[in-house]
């Protein structure tokens, strides 16, 4: 089954990368950092380009910001709280928020650094830990099976960083339709269930 190979590949990659981050944290290993860069920098650039196509300088700046934080915060990364891919995503999201704030036409003094402290939350118990890989796999496989109209909106929301209202304007869909498609998609991924 091709799906199985793919899952094995992404799992193995994640395991390799997790070893690298441990090496960076414990030994300040630059070769391990370079391997993290090789894997994540192209994904961070793609994430930035999804929001601002062709803005290569912005994408490079985001890579610098995120990878700088990876180097500085490697020791505070806790694999019990989030897998490495999720940690990198939240770093990229936080750096983008900060970038947008600094370049906004209207200034605000609100510093996002202390708002999004995803890593410092109380850790999940053993029961949640056992569930995490199942949740992860549901989302990974589920994303590929979403109807196009739902994945299109999730892309607007998560990758392009659009509000529901902006997504509704750009896709020329009623706001209610956008909201219900996001909900349907997240339900299918089993993200909104309360455990």
């Amino acid at each position: 089954m091709p799906g199985m190979t793919k899952r094995k590949d992404s799992g193995e990659k994640l395991a390799q990368m997790s070893l690298c981050i441990t090496d960076v944290a414990e030994n300040r290993d630059k070769a391990a950092f370079a391997r993290l860069f090789d894997h994540y920098a192209p994904l961070i650039r793609a994430y930035s380009l999804a929001r601002e196509p062709a803005a290569d300088l912005v994408a490079d700046e985001l890579v610098q910001e995120v990878m700088t934080r990876v180097w500085l915060k490697a020791a505070s990364y806790n694999p019990r709280l989030a897998n490495l891919n999720t940690w990198i995503f939240t770093l990229a999201r936080n750096c983008r928020i900060d970038y947008l704030r600094r370049n906004s036409r209207y200034a605000t003094e609100i510093d996002p650094t202390d708002i999004f402290n995803d890593m410092e939350d109380e850790g999940p118990g053993p029961f949640q830990l056992a569930q995490q890989s199942r949740v992860e796999e549901n989302i990974r496989a589920g994303l590929k099976q979403l109807p196009r109209e739902q994945s299109e909106i999730l892309t607007k929301v998560y990758l392009e960083g659009k509000s529901h209202q902006q997504a509704s304007d750009e896709l020329k869909l009623p706001l209610g339709t956008v909201k219900s498609r996001v909900r349907l998609a997240l339900k299918k991924l089993e993200v909104l269930v309360t455990r």
């Binding site: 370079a34 994430y47 996002p112 202390d114 949740v135």
Partner: protein, 222 residues
């Protein structure tokens, strides 16, 4: 840990996770999350959606220059870090972490301004969308003036509790009131109640004192 019964709705948590929520609203979510494990877990799953979507993007290769520049800078980065870390671990347990950027020590040391016999307020900051971020303090048993507002109002209870037409709210509880909702929060008698309030448009108080206040408030938004 799960003290709160009133949670941000899924749409807000999703926008928070995706990074598209105005920072003033994100402050409210963050303050709620400190009291709510179930929203915390939901948020972790939402973050995984973003993470998986990022993993499934077509990689956009980075130049060798970018990599080498960064590798060359690594040693100089290490030294800058130390003071930042020590500041982040400031020990002040009762104030939500996201608000410590505005509150140096204790709530009572803030420059509170009297709004009515029952209410004091202090503005913390403005968001880039014009939203006003403030703390409200209602004295024990005191009532917050019924008011209407031009935009949505987001509230998180930080200390104490209050009740209004729709029920009793305690520490960590999160609520959104729309433009047409009139509500009259009354603090419980045992202690004062401190709330974080984010208001999107100018408040129009409907009480007597508020009519006196209104010209002033309107001007402060001009």
């Amino acid at each position: 840990m799960n003290k709160s019964v009133n949670h941000p709705y899924d749409e807000l948590l999703t926008a928070y996770s995706a990074g598209s929520l105005p920072l003033s609203q994100a402050l409210c979510i963050s303050a709620h999350l400190e009291h709510c494990q179930s929203c915390g877990q939901k948020l972790q799953r939402l973050n995984r959606v973003g993470s998986q979507m990022m993993q499934q993007l077509k990689p956009a290769p980075a130049s060798a220059d970018l990599k080498n520049q960064l590798l060359d800078r690594l040693d100089s980065l290490t030294e800058e870090q130390a003071p930042v870390e020590s500041k982040a671990s400031e020990p002040d347990s009762s104030i939500p972490r996201c608000l410590r950027q505005f509150i140096e020590s204790r709530y009572e040391d803030l420059p509170w301004k009297r709004v009515s016999t029952d209410i004091h307020s202090v503005e913390l900051c403005r968001d880039s969308n014009g939203a006003r971020v403030e703390l409200l303090k209602i004295r024990p048993g005191g009532s917050a003036t019924t008011h209407t507002h031009l935009g949505d109002e987001y509230t998180v209870i930080l200390e104490g509790s209050f009740s209004d037409e729709s029920g009793l709210y305690g520490q960590g509880d999160f609520m959104v009131k729309g433009t047409r909702d009139k509500h009259t929060p009354v603090a419980t008698r045992d202690r004062e109640c401190i709330c974080l309030a984010v208001t999107e448009g100018p408040i129009q108080f409907t009480g007597f004192i508020s009519r006196l206040l209104n010209p002033f408030i309107r001007r402060s938004y001009a």
